[in-house]
């Protein structure tokens, strides 16, 4: 006979069945029953200081490990605090399962204490969500939630569980067969389309492989590289796709888009073919979509059919998983080529090389200061040999990391691309380190972003999760300041974060971390070395950076990618 368990116990057991090793959460009234059986479970609970932090930790964990991240919160404010991380994970297709307590079934709809309509609020920012109405549903719902989060186009799934259901008894049974008649994500691409794609590639004189975050999510980086090499395809990687092909690879052109490099942006403008895999023609990549890649035919591979034709109608649509379809493309290309090499396309390759030589990303660190963020990033890369998982917040620093960090592996770049959530870096780094304890996890954060979620460093020091946070203190909301400088006639409004408050190293020490600071360019390397030598505690390093620096290249929002602004002199 199967044992009778409480709904709460069944929930924890179902999580164990999914192989969950860690959950990030904050307890409270409605979810209390679930916290009791957690005490007897091998699942680790990381107690965040804010549910937003818990949610981003789950996302950072999922980014770094490729597994589903789990976050737990109570009803009402606990659940509403999770909305930002859910919306964030939804935009970036990150597999997260959120479990929220709800007021008792009998109280739902009565404006009970800590009642919020979590199911309704979370609906538009989750891939799917559940309100459990009977404890016996728990094993099946948990199974489905993990399946939905991780398969097809990944994304967040929320399970809302009323308190009486957590307390109710049920007869334990492990999850049965899933019954999802409307959910059948395509895996393999249509063979005819694959063939058509190969023909377009063979005919193309100026192809560009446009690789997005879907490559990372599908664990398809090896296939991408093989296919790029086989077809001799120069490759751009979007903000979410950085690391999909090594930046040191001769076919890698780096990042396109609003703050991409000149060659990556221009290559798409001049291309006669975009081979798009796991990317979605985001407005930060395309600029004005009507002026984007005007000469190019498009092959679009995506697991989500709704992305195909949403912004740009492709000549060859291929619905399928990036890894599976790239595998098909590789096989088809090998067959098509036989013993011949791929077309050399020498003029195109020469043009691209020429742009790379004439328009490199560069910076000029004056040894007298102030410190440039690009310099810190380059020094950090040099001293770690690039062997780290890098996390960023949102703003200028994020763009500079993406530009200047040479990414060599997938799943080593964690940032909030779609939603652009300030405050992402610290908790996401904590989650990444919790999942990959043997990897060096560094966050490069803005002083504005840092102040949104820095309390999660308390979580990190208490829980023994030694992340390293590099705060680029330009004492301003730098990206906003840049837009005000460029588009609002230097009228600075509400961007000043003040020069000396907070005292970041002291704040770090107060949170149980090591706090360090560099004021001058000459101190940058030594302070990074000091930070890298600390292994038992989280470290926060403040770099006092140039408050007036701007990120270039830049394509102003909504502008044509033909008009890349290379520096202030171009405006």
């Amino acid at each position: 006979m199967s044992p009778r368990l409480s709904g709460a116990h069944a929930l924890i057991k179902a999580l164990e069945h999914e192989g969950v090793e860690v959950v990030f959460g904050v307890p409270g009234g409605a979810i209390l029953p679930a916290y009791d059986p957690m005490l007897d479970s091998p699942i680790r609970h990381v107690l965040a200081r804010h549910e937003q932090g818990a949610g981003h930790m789950a996302s950072g964990y999922a980014h770094a490990t490729g597994r589903v991240g789990v976050t737990v919160a109570t009803s009402g404010p606990g659940a509403t605090n999770l909305i930002t991380p859910l919306a964030d994970a939804y935009m970036d297709s990150i597999p997260v399962v959120a479990i929220t307590g709800q007021v008792a079934t009998s109280a739902i709809g009565n404006d009970a204490f800590q009642e919020a309509h979590t199911w309704g609020i979370s609906m538009p920012c989750t891939k799917h969500n559940y309100l459990i109405t009977d404890a016996s549903e728990i094993p099946d719902v948990v199974r489905e939630a993990f399946h939905l989060a991780a398969t097809g186009r990944p994304g967040p799934v929320l399970i809302d569980i009323p308190k009486d259901i957590l307390n109710a008894e049920m007869e334990w049974h492990s999850a049965g067969e899933m019954n999802l008649p409307g959910y059948k994500p395509s895996v393999k691409g249509h063979p005819k389309q694959v063939k058509a794609a190969i023909e377009l590639i063979m005919e193309s004189e100026r192809p560009i492989l446009y690789a997005g975050g879907g490559i990372i999510r599908a664990e398809a980086a090896d296939e991408l590289r093989t296919f790029a090499e086989l077809g001799n395809l120069p490759t751009v990687t979007t903000l979410m796709g950085r690391g999909a092909i090594p930046d040191s690879h001769e076919l890698s052109l780096g990042m396109p888009g609003m703050h991409g490099n000149y060659t990556a942006i221009t290559s798409m403008q001049k291309a006669d073919l975009l081979v798009t895999v796991g990317a979605r023609f985001d407005d930060r990549v395309t600029g004005d979509p009507s002026a984007f890649a005007p000469l190019a035919k498009v092959i679009h591979v995506d697991v989500d059919p709704a992305e195909i034709g949403k912004v740009r109608n492709p000549e060859v649509p291929i619905v399928g998983d990036a890894k599976a379809v790239l595998g098909q493309l590789i096989t088809a290309m090998r067959k098509r080529l036989g013993d011949n090499p791929a077309p050399a396309r020498q003029p195109w390759m020469d043009t691209l090389r020429g742009w790379q030589e004439s328009h490199p990303l560069h910076f000029d660190q004056d040894p007298e200061g102030p410190i440039l963020q690009q310099f810190v990033i380059s020094e950090l890369h040099r001293l770690t040999e690039g062997d780290a998982i890098v996390v960023a917040g949102v703003g200028q620093h994020q763009m500079w990391v993406s530009q200047f960090w040479g990414f060599e592996r997938p799943k080593t770049w964690i940032n909030s691309g779609g939603l652009g959530t300030m405050g992402y870096a610290v908790p996401a780094a904590v989650g990444a380190k919790a999942g990959m304890p043997d990897e060096l996890v560094v966050a490069i954060d803005g002083d504005g972003c840092f102040q949104m979620t820095s309390q999660e460093l308390i979580t990190a020091s208490i829980e023994g999760i030694p992340v390293k946070i590099f705060v680029m203190n330009n004492h301003s909301l730098g990206m906003v300041k840049q837009w005000q400088r460029l588009f609002y006639d230097n009228r600075f409004s509400a961007i000043d974060l003040t020069e000396h408050t907070p005292d970041f190293p002291k704040l770090a020490e107060a949170m149980g971390c090591v706090g360090l600071r560099a004021d001058h360019p000459g101190e940058v390397a030594s302070v990074i070395e000091k930070a890298l030598a600390v292994n038992d505690k989280p470290v926060v390093v403040e770099f006092r950076c140039d408050p007036d620096a701007m990120v270039f290249p830049m394509v102003p929002a909504g502008g044509s990618n033909d008009n890349v602004v290379l520096g202030p002199e171009d405006l």
């Binding site: 199911w119 309704g120 609906m123 538009p124 891939k127 799917h128 309100l131 109405t133 939905l148 097809g152 186009r153 999802l180 008649p181 409307g182 959910y183 059948k184 994500p185 395509s186 249509h190 995506d302 697991v303 989500d304 059919p305 709704a306 195909i308 034709g309 949403k310 649509p317 619905v319």
Partner: protein, 169 residues
Amino acid sequence: MQHVIAVQVENKPGVLARISSMFARRGFNIHSLAVGPTADPSLSRMTVVIDGPEMEQIIKQLYKLVHTVKVTELSPNEAIEREIMLVRIAADPKKRGEMLDAASIFEARAVDVGANTLTFEVSGDPKRLADFLELMRPYGIVDLAKSGRIALPRAAKSKRAEPPQLRTA
């Protein structure tokens, strides 16, 4: 331009909210929406009339909802479309005779008679309802309720296969 889409969804709590929330979020304009059970108790059918030039993105977004089982766009020539309307019209006792005559042409039934009004029930394709309203407008329309359109594909002529590119992700 109006399009009619038949959506088969799992008969689960909240499924209507999911569909309408998705329409709102994506900025799609619903003209009318009718929901009801099907022969299979595990499924419901929604008939959605949508204003817009192009249905592909809408159909794909519908398929993305986990509870959506099947979406079919019904072209007017290949579908039977019906709607029911209750309309209350100001009815001067002297005019009732001619009003009832007109109504009979439309097979509209008088279902309620008040001191100063007549209430008709009319059903049929949307054009018939519109024509009837035009005819009654001069008397003065006091109140109006419409069911929203329901539709089924015509039997033999409907050969529209489900487009394979539109499946869920």
